[in-house]
């Protein structure tokens, strides 16, 4: 992957995470919030060293 594409992806990740936070804050966990999460995970997979981690979440 070229440095330029990696830079674009990292920038895109920030945009996506910001958009995702905003939707969750204003509308909760909607279908669109989940779609954004899919894009976030897809982008993370492409960025070297940005390891998509195990799906560990807080327990209830």
């Amino acid at each position: 992957m070229t440095t330029e594409i990696e830079a674009y992806l990292l920038q895109a990740l920030k945009k996506l995470e910001k958009a995702s936070e905003e939707i969750r804050r204003t509308k909760g966990y909607t279908a669109e919030a989940e779609e954004l999460q899919i894009l976030i995970e897809l982008a993370k997979e492409q960025v070297p060293h940005e390891k998509p981690c195990h799906s560990t979440r807080e327990t209830r």
Binding site: Y8, Y29, L42, Q46, R60
Partner: protein
């Protein structure tokens, strides 16, 4: 029954899914099996006649708008994603089985499932939390992966998720292309020079040393295989060995041709990578150089006669040892004591180095004892086998600590009757969980049990308050039942009397 199987991992994982997919087709010949995979690895579906339709996750197309400078990049990417998810949703699958165990796949499953779809594998709850609907996936979450004590092979794990039993016909070669034009010798050893991840690879210089030692022991013809990324190492090796000894096929074959070459080989020598699993399908034994942080129990070779040489790095893999093993396998000679060999059934390997032997003070022997105890503990927790005797006094001390803290957590939960009670007690409950985590760090032999406990908590979904409290209580009580096994009067005797390291 219309099934979608999601396999978004790499080539090797797709090949390890073949036996389970074939078993599913064997069990439901009239059923329809769809497979979702990535375009880059779709070649591993060629020849897999059990699958009726392959869907591709077009990652590049989906992400392309995001890497352009367009402001509407996110919307365009979402549109492309929706094309895929709505197309899959409209298939109305009866079941979706997620063999990928990743955050991405869990969100995709939740997007695709419809009312009434039966789900196995990771998905999501309506509030976005991870949902682990079945016990096999819960086991995977808690116990599978490098450094963990699991000994079930991925092939069996996938089969369990698909609800099928494997049998020998599930491992067989697909229809393969002719390869006479390659001019391969009558008898040869296939050597895979690469691996998908650098930490698994064996370097050029190591391969040259291995071949040099092998030449002295037993002259043999070699066929090098590998992908286009490995062309350079293939050329280096070809230049370094005597003429006529080696056929360099690196970067020249597609996947089915590679499988055809393997079918003709007497043996495959190579790291954990796709050709190892291809060799399992075509029934050719492998000498698996299992280098790096891997769990060979999960991803090792399955053909009869296969051997695993695990090593933390290639420095721990003496070239003469590898060459000696190749020569012995080719000549069907007796293998050295404690060699790890493939065997039928589960677990899929036998080897005295992994069994409890005479106890000493070396780290290797302590490690072997710890591994064996952890495995026996897993079988007790998940399969109802007898609980193994405690490995040392530290384990018992850890059990006592956990009983104290878990009893406290149970009492605290029992005092919670409404949300305001939880608010005042949340800090205490969090502290209890911290102590449980700390015990796990101090007593590693308790880790498998604590991971089982924590995974059961992760599996809780969005529930009404009282029901959530009761489900939490039930888990704490189940944990208490396990802990009390080791403090009730039994015939347990500590199996070691040494100090813990």
């Amino acid at each position: 029954m219309k099934s979608l199987v999601i396999q978004l991992a790499r080539l090797g994982d797709i090949y390890q899914s073949w036996p389970a997919l074939r078993a599913l087709k064997r069990r439901q010949p009239a059923g329809e099996i769809h497979l979702l995979t990535r375009p880059r690895f779709a070649g591993a579906c060629e020849g897999l006649t059990a699958v009726d339709r392959v869907h591709l996750l077009p990652t590049q197309q989906i992400l392309q708008p995001l890497v352009s400078s367009s402001i509407s990049g996110i919307e365009e990417s979402l549109e492309k994603l929706r094309e895929l998810t709505s197309a899959l949703r409209s298939e109305n699958f009866d079941q979706i089985v997620n063999l990928s165990f990743s955050p991405l796949s869990s969100y995709l499953v939740h997007q695709i499932e419809t009312n009434g779809t039966k789900i196995k594998g990771y998905t999501r709850f309506s509030d976005g939390y991870l949902r682990i609907p079945d016990d096999m996936s819960a086991y995977f979450y808690a116990q599978v992966g490098p450094g963990r004590p699991n000994r079930f092979h991925l092939c069996e794990i996938f089969a369990t998720l698909l609800g099928v039993d494997l049998s020998p016909p599930d491992w067989q070669a697909p229809q393969l292309p002719a390869i006479d034009h390659l001019g391969l010798p009558g008898e040869f050893v296939a050597v895979h020079v690469g691996a998908s991840e650098s930490h698994k690879r064996v370097t050029y210089s190591k391969w040259i040393n291995i071949l040099s030692h092998l030449r002295k022991l037993r002259p043999v013809k070699i066929a090098l295989i590998g992908g286009s990324d490995e062309v350079a190492i293939g050329e280096q090796m070809a230049a370094a060995v005597p003429a006529g000894e080696l056929t360099n096929l690196v970067g020249r074959l597609d996947l089915l041709q590679t499988m055809a070459v393997l079918q003709r080989a007497s043996l495959l020598v190579g790291p954990d990578s796709a050709p190892l699993h291809m060799a399992s399908l075509v029934g050719v034994p492998s000498l698996n150089l299992s280098v790096g942080e891997l769990n060979f129990w999960e991803t090792g070779p399955r053909s009869p006669g296969s051997v695993v040489l695990p090593a933390a790095s290639e420095e721990d893999l003496p070239s003469d040892t590898v060459a000696d093993m190749v020569a012995r396998l080719l000549q069907h000679q007796r293998l050295p004591f404690a060699t790890i060999q493939a065997c039928p059934g589960t677990p899929s390997y036998t080897g005295l180095s992994r069994q409890v032997g005479a106890l000493g003070t070396s780290a290797t022997q302590v490690g072997a004892v710890t591994d064996e105890f952890a495995w026996q503990l897993l079988k007790a927790i998940y399969q109802g086998d007898p609980f193994p005797p405690p490995p040392d006094k530290w384990f018992l001390e850890g059990i006592c600590q956990l009983i104290d803290v878990n009893s406290f957590v149970i009492e605290t939960l029992q005092a919670v009757h409404e949300p305001k009670d939880l608010q005042t007690r949340a800090g205490l409950l969090d502290r209890g969980e911290e102590i449980i985590e700390t015990v796990a760090k101090l007593v590693p032999s308790l880790i498998p049990a604590i991971r089982w406990y924590k995974t059961e908590k992760v599996r809780l979904g969005p529930l009404p308050f009282i029901e959530l409290r009761d489900r939490n209580l039930a888990i704490q009580k189940m944990f208490q039942d396990f802990l009390e096994v080791y403090v009730q009067p039994t015939d347990f005797q500590p199996s070691v009397t040494k100090e813990a390291p």
